[in-house]
């Protein structure tokens, strides 16, 4: 399975970006092979509205089955659920550390959005 981690940089030493919809980018990490690639998210970062929805679409299109991030709002949450992506919020530290915790099973799957929607 591939997992997506919101990332402020292009490699595994980068810090987890606490935002989902307006994350700088995503590390798409393959749990089987350990291979990863960085997906820039600047288009959604600068979106007028609907950043969470488009970011959900973005990582779903990348084939990710789980998302690790800091926070996730209601519209992104609904979109990710519909796409069958498991959501893990509250992550901090480096991307590598977050992947380690995911593999160790210490991350708890989010049952609800943990922040409110923006404006609309």
């Amino acid at each position: 399975m591939k997992i997506a981690i919101t990332s402020s940089g292009k490699d595994l030493d980068a810090q987890v970006d606490p935002r989902f919809g307006r994350a700088a980018g995503f590390i798409i990490y393959d749990l089987e092979t350990g291979a990863f690639e960085y997906k820039d998210n600047s288009q959604n970062l600068n979106a007028m509205q609907g950043a969470g929805i488009q970011s959900a679409k973005h990582i779903s299109d990348c084939g990710a089955g789980a998302l690790i991030t800091g926070h996730c709002g209601p519209k992104a949450f609904a979109g990710l659920k519909a796409a069958g992506v498991k959501i893990f919020t509250g992550a901090a530290g480096t991307v590598a550390e977050a992947i380690g915790k995911f593999k160790a099973g210490t991350l708890v799957e989010a049952k609800n959005p943990d922040v409110k929607g923006h404006w609309m």
């Binding site: 609907g50 950043a51 929805i53």
Partner: protein, 291 residues
């Protein structure tokens, strides 16, 4: 006083809130009525309408205003994603096995309905607010009340402006700011009166309002309210940029007192009536020149 030969629309805008848009709008409306015009006042500040407090209209008509939003037939949708590609606002997006809608983000353009190859999308409705119309001592009156929780006001403003009317002069009381609701309100006007106050905040937002009005391409002038309070920077800014100051309203405590009782300046303090007559003369002359 010169009389325009066709229907004229004067928008009262400001940039900064609380500078006196409504004060100017209602007093201009009554002054025009007294000059023999058939007048209409539209309060387009649908997020916080207040002209009715001064006009005390008898509301004769009330209707709900809605915008179209997409409804997806899940049986027909194959999640091809075309709808999401044409939507600029992320109000519809194919995720998983079907298209999901986020109706609060929808601007009601209908592109998704038209573009769906499976004809799986039809239009439903999202209520944006209420339109109320009536008469107030010989002046036609209409305003909108945005539904609490609704963020998109332009469709309701459009509905207020579309009301049928016999008036030869329409005064539009605009919302504050310089964004979509204001552009929607001033668009189609013959003249924009920008009300400011002689304070740093007033001047800062006046500059933005001037930029917005120039962008929309409408003739405009400035009314300085509470003139004498604050400083002269608004005057200087207008002089430096060849912007006509079409009127001033003095910083007079009695005006604030009349306002706080919901009274019109032209009724409570008739000595100021001439100032509004003068503003109308200048504006009507400018409109007539443009005809």
């Amino acid at each position: 006083m010169s009389v325009a030969t066709r229907k004229s629309v004067i928008a009262v805008a400001s940039g900064k809130g609380g500078t006196g848009k409504t004060t100017v709008a209602v007093n201009l409306a009554l002054t025009l009525r007294d000059a023999g015009h058939q007048v209409r006042l539209l309060d387009c500040d649908v997020e916080a309408p207040n002209a009715h407090i001064f006009m005390k209209p008898q509301i004769k008509e009330s209707k709900t205003v809605s915008v179209p939003v997409p409804i997806v037939d899940e049986k027909k949708c194959n999640a091809c994603g075309r709808c999401g590609e044409v939507c600029r606002f992320s109000a519809i997006v194919a995720l998983g096995a079907k298209a999901m809608t986020f109706s609060s983000l929808c601007h009601g353009c209908g592109s998704c309905v038209l573009s769906c190859p499976e004809h799986a999308i039809r239009e439903g409705e999202r209520e944006v607010g209420t339109l109320e119309a009536g008469m107030s001592s010989g002046v036609e009156f209409a305003h909108g009340r945005l539904r609490v929780g609704e963020a998109m006001s332009p469709p309701l403003i459009r509905a207020v402006k579309k009301m049928d009317s016999d008036a030869d002069v329409t005064i539009i009381d605009c919302p504050p700011g310089t964004s979509c609701p204001v552009v929607q309100s001033v668009r189609g006007s013959d003249y924009v009166a920008l009300v400011t106050e002689p304070t740093p905040f007033g001047l800062y937002d006046l500059k933005l309002a001037v930029e917005m009005t120039r962008e929309v391409g409408l003739p405009f002038g400035v009314i300085i309210n509470r003139n004498g309070a604050g400083d002269r920077r608004a005057h200087d800014f207008c002089a430096e940029n060849d912007i006509p100051i079409i009127g001033t309203i003095p910083d007079d405590r009695r005006i604030a007192e009349a306002y706080s009782r919901g009274e019109l300046i032209v009724a409570a303090l008739p000595e100021y009536r001439g100032r509004f007559e003068q503003i109308i003369e200048v504006v009507m002359e400018r409109i007539t020149v443009n005809l």
